[in-house]
């Protein structure tokens, strides 16, 4: 069995805990006022916003472990949100049917990436760059600049399966993370994803259906991005074409901070979700520090570099 301290996710948890402790201390209010950072409402806010990245990061981690990369999640988030929003708000479809249509749009993007990577044998970077353009373009064509307020069209006080709206996307993220963590470790499919990412040729020679594994990871990643798009549309009410611009890089960064290696064969779904929380806390707490707002992106960049360098050093020492 693995020793406890060899579990990579623990160091991500430690960084997250350290980060929360730092902001709790730094933002400690004077004279018994309520804490601006450490309170339930703010915690929920962080979870709610992080979950949009987190749901997509589950898929991104799987793609990266398989040795690929997916640049399309930001665009797929926008497309699925717009499709669901258009059908629900303007088309007066039921919410379930609109959401399903949004998922299908994501599924189509995933199939397209899979065909380009597996069938046409394009490098994943190029294939998903193309799909990113197509999905974003489709979103603009559908909306023609319009904006759909999905939550505004919902009846007031609407709940999904009895869960308050704000809680739905964090719960969805946690459930998906647990399911895919289990699929990646307890199922032969997950083993095959690690094998293909570690050594594609050896995987082929060992009887792994490399094509099927690669097709599955791009499709799953796109469907997960679509879920996150629908969550964004329903929970935060936003459905517009220029949504989630540049999210793909934050999502990839989260997966990497969570222990995934862009060389493939290494990483975890749980780590990637924890990675999105690390960034989620940063994005939430930094604006509360006077004058720090403009440093937000800079600090995010530094955090990525520092964590990955630390990871490399630890890995080298273990060898």
């Amino acid at each position: 069995m693995k020793k406890l301290w060899e579990v990579r996710e623990l160091s991500t948890v430690a960084i997250l805990a350290l980060e929360i402790a730092f902001f709790t201390w730094y933002l400690w209010p004077e004279g018994g006022r309520s804490h601006p950072f450490l309170n339930t409402a703010n915690g929920l806010l962080i979870l709610k916003y992080s979950s949009i990245y987190g749901i997509a990061a589950v898929g991104a981690a799987i793609v990266i472990i398989s040795g690929g990369v997916d640049l399309s999640p930001g665009a797929v988030i926008a497309l699925s949100g717009v499709v669901a929003g258009e059908l629900f708000v303007e088309g007066h479809w039921s919410l379930a049917a609109s959401a399903l249509a949004g998922l299908l749009a994501g599924f189509a993007c995933g199939i397209l990436s899979a065909i380009l990577v597996v069938g046409v044998r394009l490098p994943p970077f190029i294939a998903t760059l193309g799909v990113m353009g197509i999905a974003r373009g489709a979103a603009f064509i559908i909306t023609k600049g319009r904006y759909f307020d999905v939550s505004g069209a919902l009846p007031p006080g609407w709940r999904l399966l009895g869960i308050p709206l704000d809680w739905t996307s964090p719960i969805l993220m946690i459930v998906l993370a647990l399911i895919f963590q289990w699929l990646m470790t307890g199922f032969q499919w997950g083993r095959a994803v690690f094998a293909v990412g570690g050594n594609e040729t050896a995987a082929l020679f060992s009887g792994v259906s490399v094509a099927r594994v690669q097709a599955s990871v791009y499709t799953i990643a796109a469907v997960l991005a679509a879920m996150s798009g629908i969550a964004l549309a329903v929970v935060q009410g936003q459905g517009k074409a220029d949504l989630a611009m540049g999210y793909e890089l934050d999502i990839i960064a989260s997966a990497v901070v969570g222990g995934a290696s862009l060389a493939g064969g290494r990483g975890s779904v749980a780590g990637a979700v924890l990675g999105t929380l690390i960034f989620g806390v940063l994005r939430n707490a930094l604006p509360q520090i006077p004058g720090a707002t403009f440093y937000d992106r800079l600090i995010v960049g530094l955090v990525v570099i520092v964590i990955v360098v630390m990871d490399q050093l630890l890995l080298r020492r273990r060898k």
Partner: protein
């Protein structure tokens, strides 16, 4: 005066000691051969000389003074050039750019002086009698020229010491002669040559003195004029040769694997063979004769253009190693690093992957811990645990893992491509024992090997391939190195 002196050099890779206390000297201006079997440490020693590896202990001295090389650039600056076994050329660049790669002739502000480099390259090419233009892209050149290009590169930096690592492996007889003429000229110009090879006739043709290494240690240095081939072989091998197994195996009356008229243009054509259960058949041929390609087609890596295959009497068509495994046909590939192992996964994962995939297993099974532990135990793989990573194992044990990962599946037909390439002698015998045991259990084994002693000792029958066709079959009991080689080689100069 010693141009190069190795003093008590030690070098290990993980658990494997590649060099142990190696001490000898190369005299200025001589041609000095380093010979030894696979895994004897020849290439490691050259890499230390070329600055790409640093010794763990011991020192290297040049012209009598100790040096600590900081890298290949430093070695080059001190006049040491290395011609690699692998082609380290940049195929996307021109001949001139390859010769000067990393050490370009530059003007002010680092501007490239293309004309100077082209002229210099043309001179060097003429000196090497290479009829190519400095502007030719390297990927259009024949393989032999690429190797000579490395010689040109070494000369461009006025190397006094030129080390060549198995330079003739992929050369034809004519090209080999050309290389040897160039080496003669260099020697006359006062260049010290260090020539690594396991082809003894070449070594005796080119070199003044011969140093033999065995299992990472220094054995002896011979003078060409006083030593015989037998002396050198004795020093290289240093042990009683393995003998053929005398225990007879039960051989099934019906062939397990039957192949008729198998053709895959342009690699091989009209291959027909039958292997019964319990038989070990060797497919022998020189590099490029199409042996590996036959095995790859048998597991569906590349489809045949013609021909039929049956396994156990049933028609056999496979489009991938996955199909092959499901039909009971497994390939142990040649390159364990590239095609065999997952260095990101533990031995346990490596060992159970093929059988789990072939059985279309959905869940990871608890029993895999026992399965993989049993494989390590049964096949005597020396590893700390089933959770160890493959890179902590020696080459021989890694090779046994690649073999063992198929054995959980109990393949009916086992295809082996160079099963003991780059493993030490002890591991080699153990792998031979594994193959014999599998055959005794009824598997049909087809083995490709360039190692003639291995073929003679392990196989029941030998099929000899040359230029994509089977040129003959010899019962191994009646075969010797000469009769097999005669069939395999077109020109006598190609014989190893």
């Amino acid at each position: 005066m010693a141009a190069v002196e190795f003093r008590h050099i030690d070098k290990s890779f993980g658990a494997v000691a590649a060099l142990r206390d190696v001490t000898f000297a190369v005299t200025d201006g001589e041609a000095h051969a380093i010979v030894g079997e696979n895994g004897a440490g020849k290439s490691t020693l050259l890499k230390i000389l070329a600055g790409s590896l640093r010794p763990d202990r011991g020192e290297l001295s040049l012209d009598g003074s100790p040096v600590a090389l900081t890298g290949p650039r430093d070695a080059l600056a001190r006049g040491i050039g290395l011609v690699h076994q692998e082609m380290l050329a940049f195929p996307n660049l021109t001949v001139a750019a390859n010769i000067f790669a990393g050490r370009e002739i530059t003007g002010r502000f680092g501007r490239l002086r293309e004309a100077d480099m082209r002229a210099r390259a043309a001179d060097l090419l003429a000196r090497l009698h290479l009829p190519v233009s400095p502007d030719a892209p390297v990927d259009r050149l024949p393989v032999a020229y690429r190797q000579l290009l490395q010689v040109a590169r070494a000369l461009a930096f006025d190397c006094r010491i030129l080390a060549l690592d198995e330079p003739t492996t992929s050369l034809t007889a004519g090209e080999t002669d050309h290389l040897f003429r160039i080496l003669e000229n260099l020697k006359r110009d006062g260049v010290t040559l260090i020539y690594v090879s396991h082809r003894l006739p070449e070594v005796f043709q080119v070199c003044d003195r011969i140093t033999a290494l065995r299992d990472g240690g220094y054995v002896a240095t011979f003078r060409r004029d006083t030593a015989t081939t037998d002396d050198v072989v004795q020093a290289m091998v240093g042990r009683v040769l393995e003998t053929r197994a005398t225990v007879p195996r039960a051989i099934t009356p019906e062939p397990l694997l039957h192949v008729e008229g198998l053709t895959r243009a342009p690699c091989f054509e009209d291959i027909s063979l039958s292997i019964a259960g319990g038989e070990i058949v060797a497919l022998f041929g020189l590099v490029g004769s199409g042996r590996t390609e036959v095995l790859e087609t048998l597991v569906g890596i590349a489809p045949p253009t013609h021909g039929t295959m049956t396994v156990g009497g049933r028609p056999y068509a496979c489009r991938s190693p996955r199909d092959a495994a499901r039909a009971g046909v497994a390939l142990v590939p040649e390159d364990r690093q590239r095609e065999g192992l997952f260095f990101n996964l533990s031995l346990r994962h490596n060992l159970v992957l093929p059988s789990a995939e072939a059985r279309r297993q959905l869940l990871v099974r608890r029993a895999e811990r026992e399965t993989s532990a049993a494989l390590l135990r049964d096949w005597r793989i020396r590893a700390p645990s089933i959770d160890a990573m493959p890179d902590s194992l020696s080459g021989g044990n890694q090779q046994k893992v690649v073999l063992a990962k198929w054995l959980a599946l109990r393949p009916r037909v086992l295809l082996l491509d160079e099963p003991t390439k780059g493993v030490d002698v002890g591991a080699k015998y153990e792998i031979h024992a594994v193959v014999r045991e599998l055959a005794s259990n009824g598997a049909a084994c087809l083995m490709v090997s360039s190692d003639l002693p291995e073929v003679l000792v392990l196989a029941d029958r030998i099929l000899v391939m040359r230029e994509g066709r089977i040129r003959g079959e010899i019962a191994a009991a009646a075969a010797d190195e000469e009769s097999v080689m005669r069939l395999a080689a077109t020109a006598p100069g190609e014989a190893a």
